[in-house]
Symmetry: C2
Subunit: 152 residues, 2 copies
């Protein structure tokens, strides 16, 4: 893959990031470590919850989406980290057996005024299940280096 910088993330860019699958084992393992609520860790208790069965922690979904962002969206040569996210939402539960497709769409891309070596890129990131339901949506805010001056 060619080296990519701030200039390669213009407003309107849409990137398919691939897909991720959830097993009940992985759902329980992640939740035991990070979000040990019965709806995520105990299939029997989850059955009598409002969800009617085990669902993934939203943080598990976020972690798998982040991995796809690193592999297929961000570039190691220019990624300077993130300020955070606006409106992280989990509108629909993720269940064992679900496979999600993930997409990022750049909605804002501007050069920093105070630090001209970088730009700020905002992207709407969406994960969708095979029924077409959006299970996670967020606006990610990333700092990226501008392309180095070849004469410098």
């Amino acid at each position: 893959m060619p080296r990519r910088y701030f200039e390669d993330f213009p407003e309107g860019l849409s990137v398919e990031l691939g897909s991720v699958a959830f097993t009940s084992e992985a759902i329980v393992e992640f939740a035991r470590a990070h979000d040990p609520q019965p709806m995520h860790t105990d299939p029997v208790a989850a059955q009598s919850s409002i969800y009617g069965g085990l669902i993934a922690s939203g943080w598990h979904t976020a972690a798998l989406v982040m991995r796809l962002l690193v592999e297929n969206y961000l570039a190691a040569e220019s990624s300077l980290g993130s300020a955070g996210l606006d409106e992280l939402r989990w509108p629909h539960p993720v269940r064992p057996g679900d496979t999600l497709r993930v997409r990022a769409m750049v909605v804002e891309s501007r050069r920093s005024v105070s630090k001209p070596d970088r730009g700020i890129v905002k992207a709407v990131v969406e994960a969708t299940n095979t029924d077409g339901a959006t299970v996670m949506r967020a606006t990610a805010i990333n700092f990226m280096l501008v392309r180095p001056d070849p004469g410098a």
Copy 2:
């Protein structure tokens, strides 16, 4: 601990959730699985980054904060899950050796009109390092069951 429901999370409630510590081993392990960027996984490469050394993935911080929310804020008998978060921010990096104190403050608490068995509780969650710098801030939105009618 007594059973807690929506009514136990009034606006203005402030809860100290405890503290979490970060080692470089844990930072690298989490990031290799979920956020494999050099600033999080490679101490040598991180040295020459804008951060001057290894920093934790923001998702790692979020996961440890979530665990404290489950252990010391949410109640298994009433937690119905989360719609998401507003303005998740990582204003300051987390470094190996850092210990964070975490606090949740309820900023909005209202009974659901469409589903009267539950309420919506918004809380600002903040993690602060020992220098007093805020390293994570977010507004979490949680659904919680109201206290059951003892006559029902």
